[in-house]
Symmetry: C2
Subunit: 139 residues, 2 copies
């Protein structure tokens, strides 16, 4: 639990812990100035394995990483692609359900898909027509 951490790994961790959002490896790479690609991926692996960050597949092509804070679920807008955090903790119920099947839950993730508030609004306003298909929420 208290392994030592290289400076670069710490930098990567800081990039994530300093902001409350989900970043792709590429985005992290850009923000962790001067650190090579392989090193960033390795750091992300170490941090994921040591339980400090979490790797999520939100349906996008590339995985995103987030610093582990409070329990929350993710909402991905099918129209604009924005990702929102939704405060809700159903982990207890998930743990129970899995326990009934004989499995021990370490952690769980919930991803909801649908139309985000911003898109609903712009669809009303603009009459379902176009409008910029991306840009709300996320970070």
């Amino acid at each position: 639990m208290s392994e030592r951490m290289s400076a670069h790994t710490r930098t990567v961790l800081n990039v994530l812990s300093e902001r409350r959002c989900h970043l792709t490896a590429e985005e992290i790479l850009a923000r962790a100035d001067g650190i090579g690609t392989a090193t960033v991926y390795r750091a992300l692996d170490h941090l994921t394995e040591s339980g400090r960050i979490r790797r999520l597949s939100l349906g996008k092509k590339s995985a995103v990483y987030e610093y582990i804070r409070d329990a929350h679920m993710h909402f991905v807008c099918s129209r604009c692609g924005a990702v929102y955090d939704i405060q809700a903790d159903l982990s207890g119920m998930i743990r129970e359900a899995a326990k009934c099947s004989g499995h021990q839950v370490d952690w769980s993730e919930i991803t909801a898909h649908g139309l985000c508030g911003a898109c609903m609004l712009s669809m009303e306003t603009e009459g379902t027509l176009c409008g910029n298909p991306a840009g709300h929420g996320d970070a």
Copy 2:
């Protein structure tokens, strides 16, 4: 909602609907004999868009697809990689939580990670030592 479907798309749908499990595009490709790669991927896209099947990212490198039946969550064993279906429907609660944030949920997915029953057993038996690191559950 009632678009027509090409023979190949129907074949892909059948491959999925005939078995109660999650298959990668590659596995589907192997079972949909004689259909080309691009066609299988296109069929999977169509079926996903029309809501007949679902594309899931269970943390593996490649996505898996499943025919939509009853609501259930997924349990992925961190040790052996097996995927189990867990009967539990928390979609109502998820929908409510998202609604509070102003979003409209279309569908949601839950993935729990941890140690599966089979692995717990073999770890006890074999004293936490090796043992075949894969092979339980899934399909």
